[in-house]
Each structure stands twice: as C-alpha cells, then as structure tokens.
C-alpha cells in the first residue's frame, strides 16, 4: 500500500452558460475554467492540459438544445470522441477525459457529477506522466497526439462532421455515421503513427524494422506510412546501412 496518495489533479472546462456562479460547488481538487462555450476547447488544448500534468479533464456543457451557440456542445462531443481514440493510442486511456452535457434545472446539483469523476480518476491513479519510467514514452506519445490533432486532414474532417453526415454534398451523397466513424478511426490512427514516427526519428535515424518493433506494428504498415510521409516531406532517407535504409525526420512547419 502506498502511504498518502496525492489527490488527482482535475481540470474542468465549463461553459460559461451552464450555471450562475453561486450555485457551483466542486471538490477542492477541481480546477474550473470558464469558457464561452465548450466548443471553444481546441482538441490540442485538451492534450496540452494532459501534457501539463492533469490527471483528468472534464468538459461541462449545456444540454444539447440549450447551447448558446446552437451546437457548440455537440462539436465538443465530437472532439471528445476523437480525443479518446488519441488518448488510448497515447497510453493514457480514454477514462481520463469526460464530457457531460448538464442542466442544473434537470440534473440537479453538479456536486454529484464532479465527485463521481473525481472518484473515477482516483481509481485510475495519477497520470502515467508522473511515473518516471513511463514518462519519456508518454511525453513522446502526447507530442505525437498533439501533432495528430493539429493535422489538417483530421481537423477538416472533425470540423465538417455535421456537414458530412447530416447534409448531402453536391452530388447528393451522404456519409453514414458508421462510415464516418471508421474514416475517423483510420485517420486518427494514421496521423498518430506518422507523428510518432516523426518524433522517434527526430534525433536518431531508424529503420522500418526498428520502428515496427518500437511501435508494435507490422513492418509493411510502417513502410506504407513512411512512403506517405516522404511524399509529404515529413521524413527522408538518411542513409543506407547494409541493405537497410534509415529514415530521419525533416523539420515540418
């Protein structure tokens, strides 16, 4: 048994419209930040919050129909869906991020929800970033995740989910939500892996085999990503060792 465990640090981003100040009561380990709309929370900022040492992040917005900005809360929900995938890939697990759409009129006191989340994080323990052994890897993963969350492809997809799944394009086509999810999965995975490769090859040139081992992926998949990354100017062949090419990251904007 550990001696005295430190209480988890929780960051809570709360929509400015959810309640009036005096009604709000939260556990002492909650740091509440008011934002004009939880849709304001750029996925990168949330990952950055984890990188800063938060053990858990909670987003609190208005009930679907109450959003002051029509559907900012739903945009946030989409972002969370994507972020959970990234957090899993990064080894933090999706349980550290939670979004609730809340109305004090219907759901009563906020206390309950805050406590519940706080307990969930106690169970998960403190962020692996605080574990000296895991820290370097997690830091690398979070850096890759942040880059993935800034990737053009992913953000366009995210920003246009509503348009893609609810409205038809000029050709009368519409993507089903399932297809969209699969697409999102693919892109999240791909972007994460690419930025991870980029991160790993920053200081030291590595071979496909070495990378495949480090990432726990098949060499053929790694090779496909590298081909793609070369086309985009993210990586280049550094030199060939024996028959094996080594790759090194290029500076990206």
């Amino acid at each position: 048994m550990e001696m005295e465990a430190e209480p988890p640090k929780i960051v809570c981003f709360m929509c400015n419209w959810v309640f009036c100040g005096e009604e709000l009561q939260v556990p002492y380990n909650f740091n509440v930040f008011r934002v004009p709309c939880i849709g304001r929370m750029d996925p990168v900022l949330i990952l950055e919050t984890f990188a800063n040492g938060a053990d858990g992040v909670m987003l609190v917005g208005c009930k679907p129909a109450d959003c002051h900005f029509v559907d900012g809360n739903l945009h946030a929900e989409r972002a969370v869906k994507m972020l959970k995938k990234l957090l899993n890939l990064a080894g933090l697990g999706h349980g550290r991020l939670k979004i609730i759409l809340f109305s004090p009129l219907e759901d009563g006191n906020f206390d309950k929800y805050a406590k519940e989340f706080s307990e969930e994080i106690w169970v998960l323990g403190s962020s692996p970033l605080k574990n000296a052994e895991l820290a370097p890897k997690i830091t690398a993963n979070l850096a890759a995740a942040k880059n993935a969350a800034s990737a053009f492809r992913l953000r366009v997809l995210l920003g246009r989910e509503e348009e893609l799944t609810e409205l038809e394009n000029a050709y009368g086509e519409r993507i089903s939500e399932k297809d969209y999810d699969a697409l999102l999965d693919d892109i999240v995975n791909a972007e994460f892996v690419r930025y991870k490769i980029h991160y790993l090859t920053r200081d030291k040139p590595l071979s496909v085999r070495q990378l495949a081992e480090m990432l726990g992926l098949k060499p053929s998949i790694v090779l496909r990503h590298i081909t793609n990354m070369r086309r985009k100017g993210m990586i280049s062949m550094y030199r060939v060792e024996g028959n094996t090419p080594l790759y090194k990251a290029l500076e990206v904007h």
Binding site: R40, P43, G159
Partner: protein, 570 residues
Amino acid sequence: MEKPQLKIRKLPPCRAACPAHVNVQAYVSLIQRGKFREAVEIIRKDLPFPAICGRVCFSPCEDACARVNVDQSVAIRGLKRLVADIEREQGRVKGEPVPKKYSEKVAIIGAGPAGLTAAYELAKMGYPVTVFERMPEPGGMMRYGIPNFRLEKFVVANEIAYIQDIGVEIKTGVEFGKDITLEGLREEGYKAFFIAIGAQLGMKLNVPGEDLEGVISAVDFLRALATGKPLRVGERVAVIGGGNTAMDAARTAKKLGAKEVIVLYRRSREEMPAHPHEVELAEKDGVKFYFLVAPKRIIGENGKVKAIECIRMRLSEPDESGRRRPVPISFSEHQYEVDMVIPAIGQVVETSALPQELLNKDKGGMLIKYDPQTLETRIPGVFVGGDLATGPASIIEAVGAGKRAAISIHLYLRGRDPKEGLDETIEEVTWVKDWNMVNKKARRYDAPIEKPHLSLEEAMEYLMQLKKKARFEAFRCLGCGPCAECLAGVELCEGDKAVVDEVKCVGCNVCAVICPVGAIKKNDRGVAQVNEDLCKGCGLCAARCPENAIAMRKLSAEAIMAMISTALER
C-alpha cells in the same frame, strides 16, 4: 445640405421594437443563468419601471420577437415582471443618489411616465430636476388611470420612490397654468422645461342628456376611485367605447358590484382597439358586449340616467385607407335600461393649461406644434412629449419620449443642437437564417409562461414555481443580437472576437461551416473574414481552424494554456 453620416446600431428585434430600447436579450440571458437581480439592474438602465411594465406594458417586444417564426414569442413581459417581483421580495430596492454635475435646473411638468422618465434620465446625468404635479400623488395614468387589479398602487409608489432616491425632487399639488407658469419658473432659475401633462380629459359623446347624474367619463370614474372618493356604482352600467380604457372601466364597475355591465361599441369585435387579452378578461368577469351600436341620446328621469338610446350601425365598404366606417341604419333606434353611463371614447389634452404659443392654430394638423424627433417646440428650452404630444398611447411610448427629451434637454443646455442626439439608425438583426433549424434544435421548453394577471397572494405563490419555469422560458430566447448585447459573461465573452491571420488562412471554409451565427465567410480573395457585428466570440472557429489561422482576441489559446499551467503547478 450634406446628409449626416448615421451610426448604425444593430439590435435584436425585441430591443429595436421597444420605444425605450430596453436590453431584452441581456436580461433574458441573465435569467437563463438564474441571475434575477442583475437582470433587473439591466432593465433599469433603460426603464425606471420594470415592475410596472412587467405588469401592464403592451409589450411591442413580444410582437417583434424573432421566435414567432418558430413557435411563439419569448414571454418577455412575464419574465420582466418576475424578476422585478423577485427583487422586491426582500423589500423595496433603494436607488443610489447621483451627485449633481451641472448647475442648470430643469423643470418637468406632469409626473406621468413621460415626465418621470425624463427626470430619471436627467438626474442620472447629474442635473438638478424638479417635477411639478397637480395631483396629490405622482404617477399619472399609472396611478390614477390603470385600476388596482391590474397594477397595484404600491408597485407604482415603489418605482417612483426609486426615482426620488437618485435625486429627483417631486412637488405634488402644484398645477401648471394656475399655481406656476413658464415665466415664473424661469424667474426661479429653471433653464429647461419638459411638459408632459398627458391627455387627461375624457372625450364627450356629444349627445343629449350627457349632463344627467350618472354619466361620468371613464378616466374621471377611474380617477375618482383611485383618489378614494366615495363612488356609487349603478346596478346596470353601459360603457361606451372599445379601447383599453373602456375595458378597465367596465371591469372596474363589475368588480365594484354592478349587476350588469354592457359595453357598447360602434364597430365590430375585429376593429376593437383594446388588447384581445383584455377583452377576454372582461368577458371572464361577466361583462357583456354589444357591437355595431352607437348612442343617440341618454334618457333621464328626475335628473338621473334611466336608459340609453342607441342606433344600429353597419360597416361601410373599405375606403381608400382600407378602414370600414360605421354607418347608421335608419329606424333602428332601441334602448337599454341603465342607471349609469361611462363614455370611454378617448381622451384629449387640457390645452387651457398650456402656453398658447405651443398650440397649432391651423386646423387638422397636430394639436401641439413640436418636432416629433427632438421634441423641441417653438419656445426655446421647452420640450413636450408623451400622451400630450401623441394623443393617448402607452406607458412605454411615454418612457421613450422621456428618454428622448432628456437627451435633447442635455444637448440644449450644453449649447448644442438637439438634432445631434439623432445620430443613429437602428437596424434589426438576428443571426438565425433558417427557422427550421431552430425548431429542431432549440425548442425544448414548450410551455411559455402564462402572462400572469393574478392577485398578489396568488402571484407570490406562483412566483416560487415560476423561478424555475422562468429559466426554462428564458432558454427559448434565440439571442438574436450581436455579442455585446449579452452582458452575461462580461469577463469572458464581451468584446471577444475572432481574428483571422490572412497569411495562414488556406480558405478551407471549416470556420464558415462551424460558425453558429454565420459571422465568418470567405471573401473574394478566398480568405476567411470575420463580420465583427455578428461574431459572438464563442471561439468555435478558433478551436477547429486546421491551419491555426484564427485566434481569439481575448481568450486565445495562449491565454487558456497560461491559466491551466499556473493552476496545475500549484
């Protein structure tokens, strides 16, 4: 002459429609957040009568409310009444005295809503103001016209006391034209005047028998009651007219114990100028209506009313103005046996009290010669407004006039042209482009708050349940106006705007798709451009821009991260 460049002020429909431009969107959004007291403070910035108007305003805001395109208007008046009543739960709210900044004394004649509002506004600016009123109590028609069951006297007294708190002096029992005159006041050092004596005189029917005992005009009837004079109400009462005053007189007579009250109106129900809701309530009280009849004479016995003889009317074909005039039908005379007749066919101004230069001598024109925009008259320093200038209208229009008068008087006293106060035009805005979308997404609180017309005890009980309902109701507001209209999140939202870095922008259009209010569009160079009049500063675009090309002026990503890292270091 060169046309002056007008400032355009973009307002949500509700605020644009309100003659006093009360900041509806702001206080409704405060109610959403349960900030009831702050909501009243916002109302009071534009209107000194939140509780009064919450009860009896004709609420042009609700007629204009954009939400009617989706379902029904937001219950704005009900919400206003509620917050005003909540504020009073803990006793009357006192106003802070405003220090005098100027030395020029201003005299206001008539303590109706027009005069009181002008006094309130001028006192807020720092002028010494005195209001002269001939009745024993201030308030005008709010005090002596509108009956107690619609507007309690103590509510009027409270809101006037607030105006006195901030430094307005009210002298009652002083009649202009008799006890005081313009010249006299000038000698006493008053530099500017606002005359707002209303339209207090009930119009005559001009039929034989009008001087019989038992004939009393509606305003005299209501005024006598409000002054506490002993009043004998007939058993069978005929009220002549179809306006709100007629409804008030009829309902009052019924409540005072008349066995039967009939309203005689010379057009049909559709043409009645009274608010349909008031008509409904009168019917509920048991008042009977006879349409298309006009009085011909009042028949007396021993000098007292015994019956009223009427003639039937029919409506003519619509004339050029589209109005259908009532035309008498020959030989259709008939009588109603009544012992009291209350004419309520309109009010006129007591012109005898006014300086004769103000009157329009040419027939047909306005009664009073004045500039309807600046409220100036041909006598320098004398301004007029309210019912006096417009004819019987409404409280909120009188308030609007009072505010305009205060601006004009201020400019006049500072040696400037009152026309300078007219430097803006108002444009109605709402960000909603597609009403179907609203219906689908935002309408969850169907039940609009019933407009309460309740007794005090009922109202208090109702109030408790209402607080919760009110917040649901407030959530129906679409928040039509631009960002600065909503003062709720001053520390975070107000003034925050998206800024596009034109170099980074690649024209992907994600921001345009995501912006909830359509404030961001690609311009002809293919670069995103923010329309600052529409942007509400939500930051959704900044959170999604794939190229990091959009930053928020206040709550930037850096600002958020700085907050977080300091919090987590602790």
